[in-house]
Symmetry: C2
Subunit: 599 residues, 2 copies
């Protein structure tokens, strides 16, 4: 019935009669003729209704925006000067022969091409919001990405195995979403935070290569860009080394970008140890589009007068770094002041800087109140090590290591993305993937006074680091890796522990005693006893990946029916109050909340 999608009508259909379905995007009456921009998921086509065609014209006069119609007509070239190069169908138009109104529409609450809608309006009227070409493109891109992931993995023998949504609650890390059981009074399922343990068990079962594109759930306070349910590309494989695993999955991302985005990513993604990433960028997900990096100068500042530098330089838990901004001496004072404010968000108490007017004239060529408190030798080495030249600006971070990394890492990105940064070549457009590897096994939690897992407790230590698990946990590195793209962690994974004895050692290092380990992870420990294969894997956040590829601002723009930051669906009004009868069947009652009638 339908010749093709409306948006696909083209020169190829010239002089043919086409039959199209779609929505009235706009109707214009011009010189006695009615023009309809007809829209469907593929785009727009221009329909011309001539008054000579009395029957069609009468119907066309009734059309309003968002009416759903069927049109048939003859494809012809647009008159010269009216070609629209922005549309695939822009060279042609359809001379209407027949129109049928399939369903009229009341007046929509907003114009579909209004780009200034509030999020509340958009989510309340999501059905209409999704008609907007931007949202149509985004969800189609999302599909294409997911499908290309599947095709790539299928070809390599990965099989999609569904793991349960109703699982066991193991409180740790994020908060679980719970589901009361009716049949088992007083007991609860948890929605999965990830299929981690199930996929490991599937490896023990011998499925060898597993993947799943699946929903995961975390009941966390929703930061700007999180959702209670999110989608993970979850993968696991047996018998491969860390390097082999990374090769497979950077190949996957390369494939997806190539097919869905016509973008060629590097033939081999660079790797960088976690330690190097922190040293050079203060971040374990450095945005390599920004052509700025830290210079470590702690060793130079140990004996300077300037206490703000010498104190942290002499503290092993602190660091002093320089961030050279090429051409930065031209940066207006107001901008520097704004950056000083900016780094304070991350706990920095100030933002020292030096303008390099003449690099060769030390100290006079260096402009800054701090210069006089730093001896000439240190200044000379600073200039040398940073490679600063005339006209540069050097920012400094000097504080606890975490504060310096957070504040100066954020500053680095901020400057790179600023107008100044773009004008001065500090930002290089494009896609800059890398692997960050050799993460530490553990992070020391100052508050709790114990080590916690940096990745998760099933991550394998690097070869030779097993002994540190007991002797010096902070020194143990893991076979863990993150794929970082333009400053975002798009995926992460690790080689897992496949031996029960090593797993027990890691639990001990985490202060998880044998009983607790058995209660929470007994089924995994059991599984490891039966000839578990060496295995490892990775998980990618599909929402984030597609958001980046779509150039969207929020993951809500790549999710059909997202929740707000209060975890509500404005379209369907979920969550809602429910009948008392339902609660009774589930053996629960409300606590300190007045029961309200079910909506």
């Amino acid at each position: 019935m339908r010749t093709c999608y409306t948006g696909e009508v083209s020169r190829g259909h010239l002089d043919q009669t086409v039959s199209l379905f779609g929505w009235v995007h706009r109707r214009r009456d011009h010189g006695g003729v009615i023009f309809i921009d007809l829209r469907d998921r593929a785009g727009l086509a221009q329909i011309v209704v001539d008054p000579d065609n009395v029957q069609a014209f009468e119907i066309a006069e009734k059309l309003r925006n968002e009416f759903c119609i069927r049109v048939s007509g003859l494809v012809r070239l647009r008159p010269e000067g009216t070609v629209n190069p922005e549309l695939a169908s822009g060279e042609v138009e359809v001379l209407c022969r027949e129109i049928e109104i399939l369903n009229p529409s009341v007046t929509p609450p907003f114009q579909l091409d209004d780009d200034n809608l509030s999020e509340t309006t958009r989510l309340t009227h999501r059905v209409l919001d999704l008609r907007r070409p931007f949202m149509q493109r985004n969800l189609m891109l999302r599909y294409r990405v997911a499908m290309e992931v599947r095709k790539y993995l299928d070809q390599l023998g990965f099989i999609d195995i569904e793991t349960p949504m109703l699982t066991k609650s193991t409180p740790e890390g994020a908060r679980d979403y719970l589901v009361p059981s009716r049949v088992n009074a007083g007991q609860f399922y948890a929605l999965p935070q990830s299929p981690q343990l199930f996929k490991q068990m599937l490896m023990v079962s011998g499925f060898d290569r597993y993947y799943q594109i699946t929903k995961c759930f975390r009941d966390e306070d929703l930061r700007a860009d999180r959702q209670p349910e999110f989608t993970q590309i979850d993968c696991e494989t047996s018998f491969l080394s860390e390097v082999e695993i990374r090769e497979i999955f950077e190949g996957m991302i390369r494939h997806v970008f190539g097919v869905a985005q016509q973008v060629e990513l590097p033939a081999q993604f660079p790797t960088m140890t976690w330690d190097e990433a922190m040293r050079r960028y203060g971040s374990d997900k450095p945005d390599l589009r920004v052509k700025l990096e830290f210079t470590d100068i702690s060793d130079l500042m140990r004996d300077v007068e300037f206490k703000v530098f010498s104190a942290p330089a002499n503290d092993p838990a602190s660091r002093v770094v320089a961030l050279r901004v090429p051409g930065g001496a031209a940066m207006p004072r107001s901008e520097i002041d704004a950056y000083t404010k900016f780094v304070s968000i991350y706990g920095a108490k100030g933002l020292a800087y030096i303008k390099v007017n003449q690099a060769a004239a030390i100290p006079d060529g260096l402009q800054s109140p701090i210069v006089k408190n730093i001896h000439v030798d240190a200044l000379r080495q600073l200039i040398e090590r940073t490679g600063a030249v005339d006209g540069d600006l050097i920012f400094f971070g000097a504080d606890k290591t975490k504060v310096v990394n957070d504040a100066m890492g954020a500053l680095r990105v901020k400057i790179g993305h600023s107008d100044f940064g773009k004008q001065h070549g500090l930002f290089e457009k494009g896609w800059k993937p890398l692997w960050v590897i050799d993460f530490p096994m553990f992070e020391y939690d100052e508050e709790e006074g114990r080590y916690t897992a940096a990745h998760h407790p099933f991550t394998s230590p690097k070869d030779g680091h097993e002994d540190y698990l007991e002797s010096d946990p902070g020194r143990a590195l893991a076979k863990a890796y993150d794929m970082v793209l333009n400053g975002w962690e798009v995926g992460g994974g690790s080689v897992r522990i496949h031996r029960a004895d090593v797993q027990s050692k890691v639990f001990r290092a985490l202060n998880i005693d044998a009983e607790e380990a058995r209660n929470k992870f007994g089924f995994l420990l059991d599984a490891l006893q039966y000839g578990a294969p060496p295995h490892g894997g990775v998980a990618f956040g599909l929402d984030r990946l597609v958001t980046m590829m779509a150039g969207a601002d929020s993951i809500r723009d790549v999710i059909a029916f997202p929740k707000t930051q209060r975890a509500q669906c404005l379209l369907t009004q979920a969550p809602s109050f429910v009948d008392e009868k339902q609660l009774r069947e589930l053996h629960i009652r409300l606590r300190n909340v007045e029961a309200k009638p079910a909506a």
Copy 2:
């Protein structure tokens, strides 16, 4: 590293050195040589360890079942007489050069090839149970089916769009699984029973062709073969007729059977109206492999003396049917008695029958106590209409229509599948798909004294049946269709209502008043106002479909981690008691259940 899967070693590798990973399926010591059946997901290969290879032999002596190992060695032909035609690798064996134990195994709780394990044992030790070749094959088949569905739909422009898991509770039909909201005190999400409303809204949004392979949830008492969470192949399309929709999806099933099963299904599936299916088979999902059908004889039995027949024959809510069993006169008395018992399960009060000794000699050639109470004319017409010949048996059902359909429909299938049926050609092997169409819009619920939706309340009436919605709801037929395969409903769907006014009429026929409709489905009614396109779709039960294709007895055999009939996961011990703190955060407390410590 790995040359190929263990199960794939073949003649093609002759005289090559292969490197294999897998599990010790069995170890035999024979004539001073050690034979290992090495297993992976692709199957078995025989490894031969010669005592001359001292190092390998020493390791091989330590091997026990389920040890995970790496083996390298030379592929050679098996000695004559030891070829195993049941294995893909059965012509060859691998002369071991090197063995490495990757992970030992404690003694498994059962032999993997033990076919008499209890379900409790299997589900408790699911990780090992999944190693069994049968389970490996089943989950790989499941994957292949799902992937071929995706490929087929992709090619036709269907796109997978994820709909929410945390949705709004709309109590009706099955019970919802609820999820308490922490942020919105006292309120609950529901896990979706199906994405029905979301997929309809996606059509209104203009996505045109949608699919999703997704989890659905129903908190029902679990019959033998149901799961709290199950997987649906959910599809919807706009602008197509009922016939066009069916064509697409029978094409999908044909494709899947062709690729995943090498089975060619009919080029066009037969269609049968619901009315005809009930008349001929007493079922809306007839098993067409069974070569038996009902003959309606109500009209013949209205004036016979035999009250058991004449009473229902004269009641419009009842029916009298004959079920001719070719060759059935030879059926032993004990079998007939068993069937009499069998039909009583369905409420039949007895099972009258006639043995046709001589079809031409009426009444003397007919052997049955009931013959004398049925006049000769009725008997003659009975024989003629059923086409009974000498040696046949005729069973009778005479009762309320529902009882007759249920009892005689079940009897028909039972006889067909019996040894007798198979020996007498009453059963034809193979795959017998059909579409059952023209379902009634409504069913009358005697208990509640009102009509309920036969399919769901969003189903469109057939053209010309709109008026019945008010005047005679029981007469209204729907644009609804089920795909039936060998007696199972594998999929079902309908053309949906796309006009708000028709939807309102259907709600009225269902006694859903305007306020209730707005509360429950306001967002759908709103959506229909904005130029909703004509649309329809279908949903297939993936679990059931794969179970049938795998020749498995239970859907639990095609699900990696299923729940028991008490909705428990025996592997992970879900559901479980949770911390009081978790409940407090969710604003709920237990009711009439003693709080137990979290497991």
